[in-house]
Each structure stands twice: as C-alpha cells, then as structure tokens.
C-alpha cells in the first residue's frame, strides 16, 4: 500500500505498544450446541494475522454447553480457547454476551484484534461491545490484513494495525478501515461476512489451553427473556459444500418447487454433489424450510455453479450467493438484477425452462462440472 511511504523524521509506534494490547481473538459463535462455520472460517485470517504479528490466537466461546468446540478450534489453529458456560446462555441475547466479552477484555486481557462473524448475532454484539469497551469496529468485512498507517497531521506512523476491508458505495469501492491515530484504542474490531474466508485444515494433533471464565454478571444482564425460538425444522442442510445449488424464488411455489426438485434429482443421478435452496420470500411463504434459505439471514455460499430460478436478485439474496463461480439465471424478466449479474441467462417461464434443463442433464449435461 502506498501509505507505507512516510518521511524519515516521522515518529513510529507499534499499535499494540501504543494501546497495551496483544494477540488476535476470534469470537466463535455457537447455535444449538454447534459451532457456526463462520467461526471456523475466521480461524484462517486470525491465524495468519497472529503469525504475521508474532502473537497468539485465542477464541472465545459463549454458550450453555460448548461440548467439543474448544478442541475443534484448537485443531483449526487456536492457541487458547476461553470458555464462558452458563445454563442461561442457551439462546443469544445481547446483554449477557456483551457482559462476558467486555468483562474479559477489560479485566483479564485485551487483544489488539477481535474478529466476529457478521451473523445476526455478530452484527448485534460487536457494536455493543465496541461502545462499552471503547473500541473501533468495522462491519461486514470481506478482507482482513495488517499494515502501517502514516498520519500526516501528527507526522506519526502506527504499524501492525488491522486493515479491515469492506465493500462500500454500492460495492463500487473497497474501503480500508483502520484505527484513528488520534483515538487509538484496542482491540481493533471487525465483523466478517460468512462464507468469505476459508477455514484452515483441521489438525487434531495441535494442542492449546482451555480457560474457563466467569463474568461478573450484573442485575439486568438477563432482563431480556427468550420466549420462543423457531429455526427451520428438519435436518441441517449445509449447502456450502455443494458443487451446484439450484435455488427457487417465490414463483416456484406455484408448482411446489417440483421442477427444482426434479432438476436436483437428475444432477444427483449424474453423480454430482447437488442441492436445492430458496430465497427468503419463498421460505416465508412456506415453499421451503428455512434450513435451505440462501441470503443475508440464511446461508452464504459460493458454489462452482449457482442456478437461480425465478429469483430477481434482491440485495438480501445476492449477499448470500454473488461470489459463486458461475451463475445461471432463469427468469421471465431480462432486466432483473439476477439476470444482469449472471454468466448465462435463459429468459422464460421456469415451468418450461427447468424441465428442459432436467432433460439435458438426464442425457449427460452437467453444467461443465
């Protein structure tokens, strides 16, 4: 980066020295006893930055029961796992999670970098913690790195700072957000979009420390009560590993997604790792279980081939699939966002087009896979 050019008489300080902080920390979210993928993914950039900085990588688990998750995280590269277990932490609410994290940061150890997944939890928790412990936070990052920043006004260079990159201005720019040299606080926090980073290979022979931590719970931390939770029933469907995903929008509900199912069955019969998914609108209308929802509040995926059937391409949906290697759109509207951002598009009624594709697949067409 050009910012590393600075005059010889500039004062130089390291971010961790200036803020009395050390280490990289990842908040690894758990839901229903399972570690979310985004936590695994963040061990990738987390480990990389920790190695670059020559510091340790820690992970934080906050849940009613963490099970094997500490060893999972150690196998993925954590040097240390901090565990906050309490029966009242089964479902996420802001205040107890914020208490657990901020107590640890304030009373035990302050890392120089703190990462979280940009899930509904991470996007709620990160800013609350940032305001409580006085820290800067960057939302929805797609790239994380470490570098120096030269501040002209004070003629000072701060090195080894988090560079949190995020798309902005309608994705036309990639903004690099860093700590303000005039308000230098640790940790530098960032949330990262799920499905962007790649989880490191797991090595079960790795060893690390597990540290139990009990926050100083305060009156009111549990004042918000969870009355009911409805997460899509049925099996957990992980679309992240598929080679090809066929997703249907709300119009496909007219025929009960039958054409979508037939196409996926035909792809599977050809030996392909194929699955079907749906837009949030189709899920809300009851045409598909929420375990198959793709988008901002569903799964974020980037398969080699994504087939979008009768999906117009609302930003909430494209956030979960736009990094697919190849996108094929089937739609009646040539001007819709999905068609305009696809590699290939077939303009027509899905009830005619999708069965034609199914026939092609049955005769050996596999979308190049």
């Amino acid at each position: 980066m050009a910012m590393s050019d600075w005059p010889e008489d500039a004062t130089v300080q390291r971010f961790s020295d200036a803020t009395s902080s050390e280490g990289v920390m990842v908040f690894a979210e758990m839901v229903d006893g399972h570690l979310l993928n985004v936590g695994r993914e963040l061990m990738g950039p987390g480990r990389e930055m920790a190695d670059h900085l020559g510091v340790t990588l820690s992970a934080v688990l906050i849940h009613h029961s963490v099970g094997d998750a500490p060893q999972d995280l150690i196998s993925l590269g954590a040097d240390k796992v901090i565990v906050v277990e309490d029966a009242r932490l089964e479902h996420y609410t802001t205040l107890p999670y914020a208490r657990a994290l901020s107590d640890y940061l304030t009373n035990v150890h302050r890392p120089e970098i703190l990462l979280m997944g940009a899930t509904t939890t991470g996007r709620d928790l990160a800013p609350r913690v940032a305001s409580r412990v006085d820290a800067g936070v960057t939302a929805d990052c797609t790239k994380l790195s470490v570098g120096p920043f030269y501040h002209r006004k004070t003629k000072s260079v701060t090195t080894h700072m988090l560079e949190a990159h995020r798309p902005s201005f309608g994705e036309s720019k990639l903004a690099c957000i860093m700590s303000n040299p005039e308000q230098l606080w640790a940790p530098a926090m960032a949330t990262a979009r799920p499905g962007i980073f790649v989880a490191p290979a797991s090595d079960s022979s790795r060893t690390g420390d597990v540290e139990a931590f009990t926050p100083d719970w305060q009156d009111g931390d549990f004042s918000v009560e969870v009355m009911d939770v409805r997460r899509g029933g049925g099996e957990r469907v992980d679309l992240g590993h598929c080679k090809i995903v066929v997703a249907g929008g709300i119009p496909c509900g007219q025929t009960g997604f039958r054409e979508i199912h037939d196409l996926v069955d035909a792809l599977k019969a050809q030996g392909l790792d194929a699955e079907w998914g749906a837009s949030r609108a189709a899920v809300d209308a009851g045409h598909a279980p929420s375990t198959r929802q793709i988008g901002q509040t569903g799964q974020s995926i980037r398969p080699p081939v994504y087939v979008a059937v009768a999906i117009s391409g609302a930003p909430q949906h494209t956030a979960g699939m736009k990094d697919s290697e190849r996108i094929v759109a089937v739609n009646t509207d040539e001007s819709c966002t999905m068609v305009q951002s696809a590699d290939a598009a077939i303009i027509g009624d899905y009830r005619e087009v999708v069965p034609q594709l199914t026939e092609k697949v049955k005769s050996g067409f596999t979308f190049g896979l």
Partner: protein, 289 residues
C-alpha cells in the same frame, strides 16, 4: 383506521408512551455520486428517508395508533435533514429533534452512538423512565453498518433487540419478534429499550391529510427552495453539540476510533452475460472451460 401488521392492538390499552425514532436522511441510492476525492457527494444528491428507517417510523406510528402517546423523531445530520422531518410529520409524527453541528462531521458509528444517545438524554429520555422506547432502522443505505442502534442502546444503558419484525407492548414489556438465521425468535424486554427494525416489517404509510395541513403552517422554503421549518416552530428543535453538552473529544472525525484509510475503486466481478436458451446453454457452458 386499520393498524398495520407490525403492531397489534392490546385490548385498547392506552399507554401514553413516547415512541422515539432515530431517522437518517440518505442520498437516493441510485443517484449517489462519488466526488473526485472518493467521498460520497451528499450535497448534490436527491435525498430520502433511509429505507430501513421508514420501517421504524411505521412501527412507531402504528404503536401510537394502538396505544396512544407520541412519536418523536431524532436525527443527527446537516440542516437539510428537516426535509425528511417534514415528510415524517406529514405521516403523523408529533415532534422532531435535529442534532446538527459541523463539529460532528466525520463521526464514525462509535461517535454517532455517543452523540445520539447524548441527544436523547438531553431531551429527557433516560434509563430511569419506563414510559418510552426507541427504534431505528436495521441499517442505512449509505453507511451499511447496522451499528448505530446497538451503540445508542449501550450509551443509554438500555437493552436492545435488533432485526425486529413485530412489536407490541403488554403489561409493561415489549414483546418482539426478531429475525435470526433460518427463522425467528420471540423475546420479551423491559422498558425502556432499543429496537432496530428489519426491512421485512410493514412499509411506511402515505401522507395523512390532516397532519400535512397541520405541519404546513410551520414550514417555509430555504434559500435553495427546499422545505424547512419556520424559526421557532414548536414542533421542531435544532440542537448543537454544545446544547447537548457532548464532550469534544468524543465527536467528529478526531473523536472517532476508526477512519477510512483508503477506498480504492474495484472492478465489478466481470461476468459476461450470455443470453441463451436451454439448448444454447450447453455451448455457453463449454465456453467456460
């Protein structure tokens, strides 16, 4: 008048609460231009109430319909935010408050959370009172962080729930439905509290003629011909950073813990769209290898 889906009647209980809405005016997304310096050209772009804030405004108005009370809009931004305040008034808002000060320019979300919470405290909304709640949109189209509601709540020391689709007040608690991955959660929270409203909540209602007539007598045109409140209009308060007693080290560019270090332009993922039919797709796919 029917109440929108966002809020249900609760035995016609009259609560006389204040429903406070954090509202941001943003450039119309499709008409945003970037200046030569790479910052957003806010001055020349036509503006509107941020999309998600419109849902928050509707939620507050429908709660007022159901329970009585007042809707108060609070914003931080340049004086031309009054245009959106007038739009909000025409839909039934009772009072608007604008924190406007050059010293606030360049504030990041941490500093914005501090400044907005200071404004709420200044006009009387504290965690000690339980006859109010505050809501904001999930996120803004020009900032896109979703941070501010959480950061205002933390500074006020009140509970929060983000991504709320529906809300009702029952027996002194807010009962809300929150969107989560793959479903939703029902939560019960004490008052006062902060809600950020999901884009799937009810859309903003149209102008109410009675309200529009009532607000008209307080409105005039500024030098650029834009709607603005008359000086001394009793329904509008313009506050400075000093009025609200904000600490100078916690606001504006210098008071913000984050800065935009660089913002290089990125080429959009260049997908070369090929329109085809199901026969032609085979050839198109062969071309990908």
């Amino acid at each position: 008048m029917p109440v929108s889906d966002g809020c249900k009647y609760s035995d016609w209980e009259v609560l006389m609460m204040d429903f406070v809405v954090l509202l941001k005016q943003v450039p119309k997304p499709k008409e945003m231009r970037v200046t030569a310096e790479g910052t957003l050209d806010r001055a020349s772009a036509p503006s509107q109430i941020n999309q998600d804030c419109q849902h928050a405004l509707e939620m507050a108005l429908s709660m007022k319909d159901a329970y009585g009370g007042r809707v108060v809009v609070v914003s931080m931004g340049p004086p031309n935010f009054q245009m959106s305040h007038i739009t909000a008034m025409e839909r039934g808002v009772d009072e608007t408050v604008l924190l406007s000060d050059r010293k606030l320019g360049g504030s990041d979300t941490w500093a914005t959370g501090y400044a907005l919470s200071g404004t709420l405290k200044h006009i009387g909304y504290s965690s000690e009172r339980n006859d109010w709640l505050v809501m904001g949109g999930r996120q803004t189209t020009d900032g896109d962080t979703a941070h501010v509601p959480s950061q205002v709540a933390e500074n006020l020391g009140i509970p929060q729930v983000t991504l709320v689709e529906t809300c009702e007040v029952v027996d002194g608690s807010a009962k809300v439905r929150r969107i989560v991955e793959g479903g939703s959660m029902d939560l019960s929270m004490p008052l006062p509290c902060m809600l950020s409203i999901a884009p799937t909540a009810a859309p903003l209602r149209g102008r109410n003629m009675k309200a529009a007539v009532a607000v008209k007598k307080h409105v005039t045109k500024d030098q650029r011909g834009k709607d603005t409140f008359k000086e001394g209009a009793p329904i509008f308060r313009l506050l400075s950073a000093d009025d609200v007693e904000l600490e100078g080290t916690k606001i504006g560019l210098a008071g913000s813990p984050t800065i935009v270090a660089a913002a290089p332009r990125v080429e959009k993922a260049s997908r070369d769209l090929q329109l085809t039919d199901s026969d032609g797709l085979i050839g198109v796919v062969e071309g990908w290898q």
